[in-house]
Symmetry: C2
Subunit: 408 residues, 2 copies
């Protein structure tokens, strides 16, 4: 029967996973340097935990376990909020989590039912220093992965809230944001049509005036200040805290999730590619899980990062092995394995022939895997305690001594 | 409502995860040195994939998604078999996978519904070299984690099969192994009682004679040879391939899983602790997923390893941060953050005050987290470009220069 990969999901073979693990390692390394520590939570949560905060759309996408008690998590923020609200952490609590989430969507190009998220969050700090720090370490992680410095788009929920208040539609601001968030998907005209079901023409006009504010950051902040003094001030502070970052205030930056309460941000690499990271402040979410606290965070889109890295790379890597120690005849296997052990002790990934193949077949394996170096062990090598290290690409050979410490 | 950790599962807080990630890193590093590469598969599989091979007991433990199409994987071997049977890998295909699995058991002490497995497997080698290699790298990983050299228990399914054939109960050998596997749980008397429902007294007597064979490895191999020439020979080969290992032939080693076909092995640390790793050859499993091939592998019990490491450790670590750069007043925050950036560039995990706290509160945070060093930045430090690095444990202070490259 269906002994295949589940629909909408992926098997990650070595050529994917080697790169994926190295990307995760790099991101982790940066987060750790800022003092973020890992937590992990179960893949399953009680269904009511998952439904407590989520919008109607995401509720439909939960993989529910038979019996209706548990569901698979659809993001890493809900579990963080649950854990942070139920443990007495020293504050600020700074955590990262690089792990998988599941959404039962109709599979479509580039979207999967299982995918990785890389989250970094600060719980328990009201200050924009926390917002600035999650942005700063995200920029550093992206650069460390070999990309140019990303552009940071910055907005503040308080500004749109300010406008909504001024226009007397404050109680409908969630509808407003939900519809505006679709602009990339369905276009401005469709968004306006949807808005007309909830708002009058004057309101829609004013909203689009705000979204389309152009000019320098200073000019945009000036317009923003009229709507929310506090919102504008927070953005000023973040800009000041990040003197090396390339920040652009973008008053049209909405970010779909309903739980954001303050600054929201996105990292972009060039204009043709969408954002590679995003986040924002969500000071009211934890209260839903029992204990109110400040929180802000950012998430790197691992799948998009990997897509971009794979596009840049000429060829994929299917092995990490550096050296293959072949043996001319089975009786030299122990000798080959001894040499391999010596190399492994030096940290060099080394393989020997697990299949009792003849020499030609062993070297076919080396080539097929793309292992860069080989050593062949036969009677002569054992007797003279010398062998040749062959560069499989150039054919170059170098004599090495089979003494205690093999020197490549 | 139930905003808590799901029943039978665990949240891994920093004090767990820091150690867990370092253990995983160590094990991974050893696997990679032997040329094993990572693969990952979805947490969900088609339910019929999961049920194809598994025994009745494990079938009851699958978390099934509503609709009955998908279930959560209960081990990493089934997904490996599915992937290996459906992809044209160069053979031998050597993969590791350190990831989570789920079983819907009744929660009990020390057993969880979600847990990590660390698997290393070779697909496509008939040779005992492959069995020896998975044992060898498992031993190395365990030693690298700081444990003594584990004792390896070795047996071969072919030996019990040989006895069953001799006693004319070959078609019931699965029942025999399934019941014998319970000996640790329910004791010898109960096992004998269960066996009596399937076998006559003479058979049971002969089986227990085999299980209780004592003596040296050579003596046990001699008894084994009578039942399976091939089985005994394979064990001899493995012993010869692992001259540095401490191997004990144990003819009572059953290992529950029905899919083993040849050598089976376990790694033990001392007699009071159960096994910390186990595995064996399963040459017929892949055929169930479409393409027959040889396979052997070993799995380290990560939960037991972590339990033992935690018992050894005096205190848990809840941060990785090395230095906290405090500021006397908010106006020195930018200076503190500049120093922190400099330290991070040198790979030193460093934090600054994200909460705009006074100095006393900042140092309380440092102590509460167990951060080993602090630097305090005030007017004087900024002016003189000098500061003091304080060892928080000893109180010792060392003057450092706040120049481009800070030297600790």
């Amino acid at each position: 029967m269906a002994k295949i990969t589940p629909k909408g999901m992926r098997d990650f073979l070595p050529e994917d996973m080697i790169l994926r693990e190295s990307v995760i390692e790099t991101i982790k390394g940066v987060y750790r340097k800022y003092g973020f520590v890992p937590i992990e939570t179960p893949a399953l949560e009680y269904l009511d935990t998952l439904k407590a905060k989520s919008g109607e759309e995401i509720k439909k996408e939960i993989f529910v376990i038979e019996g209706g008690e548990f569901g698979l998590r659809f993001d890493l923020t809900v579990p963080l909020a649950r854990v942070a609200a139920n443990n007495a952490f020293t504050k600020p609590f700074k955590r990262y989590c690089i792990s998988r989430v599941w959404r039962h969507e109709e599979p479509q190009k580039g979207r999967f039912r299982e995918f990785w998220q890389c989250d970094v969050d600060v719980v328990g700090s009201e200050s924009t220093r926390a917002d600035a720090e999650v942005i700063k370490c995200t920029i550093e992680a992206i650069e460390k992965l070999g990309f140019n410095k990303p552009k940071i788009l910055l907005n503040n929920r308080k500004i749109m809230n300010g406008l909504a208040q001024k226009l007397n539609v404050k109680e409908k601001v969630d509808d407003l944001l939900r519809i505006l968030d679709k602009i990339d998907k369905i276009g401005e005209d469709q968004v306006k049509k949807h808005l007309k079901q909830h708002f009058d023409d004057q309101t829609i006009k004013k909203v689009f005036e705000l979204l389309k504010t152009t000019g320098t950051n200073e000019q945009k902040l000036k317009s923003a200040k009229v709507l929310s003094e506090e919102g504008a001030k927070e953005l000023e502070e973040i800009i000041e805290l990040l003197p090396d970052a390339e920040i652009v205030i973008d008053l049209s930056l909405v970010r779909g999730l309903g739980y954001y309460t303050g600054p929201v941000f996105e990292a972009k690499l060039g204009d043709e590619i969408g954002s590679v990271a995003g986040g924002g402040r969500y000071d009211t979410l934890l209260a839903m899980y029992g204990q109110s606290d400040y929180a802000t965070g950012m998430s790197i889109g691992l799948e998009r990062i990997l897509f971009l890295l794979n596009k840049k790379k000429a060829e994929t890597q299917k092995t990490l092995t550096q050296v293959f120690v072949a043996c001319v005849k089975p009786e030299f296997y122990n000798e080959a394995e001894k040499i391999a052990s010596e190399l492994r002790k030096q940290g060099i990934a080394t393989e020997t022939d697990l299949n009792q193949r003849n020499l030609r077949k062993q070297l076919e394996y080396v080539n097929s895997m793309g292992i860069p170096y080989s050593i062949v062990i036969g009677q002569k090598e054992v007797e003279t305690k010398k062998a040749k290290l062959r560069n499989m690409k150039t054919g170059e050979e170098k004599e090495i001594k089979l003494v205690e410490k093999i020197i490549l």
